[in-house]
Symmetry: C2
Subunit: 235 residues, 2 copies
């Protein structure tokens, strides 16, 4: 039986958000992974690696799992009707709806996080509430058929958890062994709680540009909602 | 100052061997990462993800770090003169010569592991001795300017260690935090020692095909050496 995973790919995607879970999922028995975008032209990730979509929104086959990765390119998706429509439509049909990193914000903008436990990259976590989500401080958050992963590398842990759910723990353990996933980070700085104040400040500084655009976007939406509200009350 | 990393890309490369360290290295300040192959046509990795070379053997700029990832496609490289010549030539000029996973075997075939401490994927580890290496049972092995990493996901740990060496620990910690590298593998099965006998047997079974080709290749080389030896003694 073929299990079909569909991962969204888009300009300025954070490639490891995508390639990490891709490798885990594609290593599972009977799995096929498609990279989905509007057209098949190569897409440039935020660190310059080119990724080639394998299917388009129009010819994408039915999916068992939809996955939205994150990265700076997420900002453009949050107001992209074609993307949000595709995500909503496929989410209604897939067995699992998932995200890695700031990909959770795309699920949020598509209205899929309302009342749901969810997580995302540590520097996007405060945006979850704006979408009515229940923010969870965890590397993987599960709520029914919604599974969201934390920042970038959490996509590997997420991929293994998902394989276990779909194909059993033995299959996930086999994939984990074949990928020699026995991580040994050389430093204790992978989360804001572990990192030194100086390292945390520097990491925030590097992510400041895309964070600012995101903040402005959310402020604009709040203003639009506020402007619309009295009309509804008095209308 | 630009730090230039060159990663070999080839048909049937294990993409996470490449994309893991790529993301770590490319996230470091002033870093540029090139994907090197004979030509610029897209290359298909072992799990079907397409990767696009950015430079060729002929127009590759000077490299600070040469990195050879692994995968089933390694077998074809072990007897590919153009590849081995390129690796040898660049290794002589680079500040660091590195590999991830079975990419170590390519360094071995190029004659770069003789008398050197080295590691590789657990199911290729016994081949290291054939190249005169001193096999090290570790996720990262360092010997002078030679750094070899274990299987697939060890490329992330390796990337961070390398960034620390080139740009200092604070830079490596900043990259680790931005990629939220605080791994939480859902199972304890990432090494043969941790995995159950059934999982170990199943993982070996899946890697059996490329392992057999490799064994035959080494047997052929041993025969060729044995046939050549008396000529040298009596000649």
């Amino acid at each position: 039986m073929t299990l079909r995973f569909g991962i969204l790919v888009f300009p300025n995607v954070q490639q490891l958000d995508l390639t990490g879970p891709y490798e885990v999922l594609a290593s599972a028995k009977g799995a096929e992974v498609e990279l989905i975008w509007k057209d098949r032209s190569p897409v440039t990730s935020s660190t310059r690696l080119a990724l080639n979509p394998t299917v388009t929104f129009d010819d994408c086959p039915p999916l068992d799992v939809l996955c939205v990765p994150g990265g700076g390119g997420v900002n453009a998706l949050l107001e992209d009707k074609a993307v949000l429509d595709f995500v909503r439509q496929r989410a209604a049909q897939a067995r699992y709806v998932t995200s890695v990193c700031s990909g959770a914000l795309v699920l949020g903008a598509a209205g899929l996080l309302k009342g749901k436990r969810a997580t995302t990259h540590w520097y996007a976590h405060d945006f979850l509430e704006e979408f009515g989500a229940v923010p969870v401080d965890a590397r993987i958050a599960e709520d029914g058929n919604l599974i969201t992963a934390g920042g970038v590398t959490s996509g590997i842990d997420f991929g293994l958890a998902l394989v276990a759910r779909l194909l059993g723990q033995a299959e996930a353990e086999t994939v984990q062994l074949s990928l020699e996933y026995a991580p040994a980070p050389p430093f204790r700085s992978g989360t804001p709680a572990e990192a030194s104040p100086a390292v945390l400040a520097e990491a925030k500084e590097r992510l400041a540009g895309s964070r600012r655009v995101r903040e402005e976007m959310f402020a604009r939406w709040r203003d639009a909602r506020a402007a619309a509200a009295p009309t509804r009350i008095h209308g």
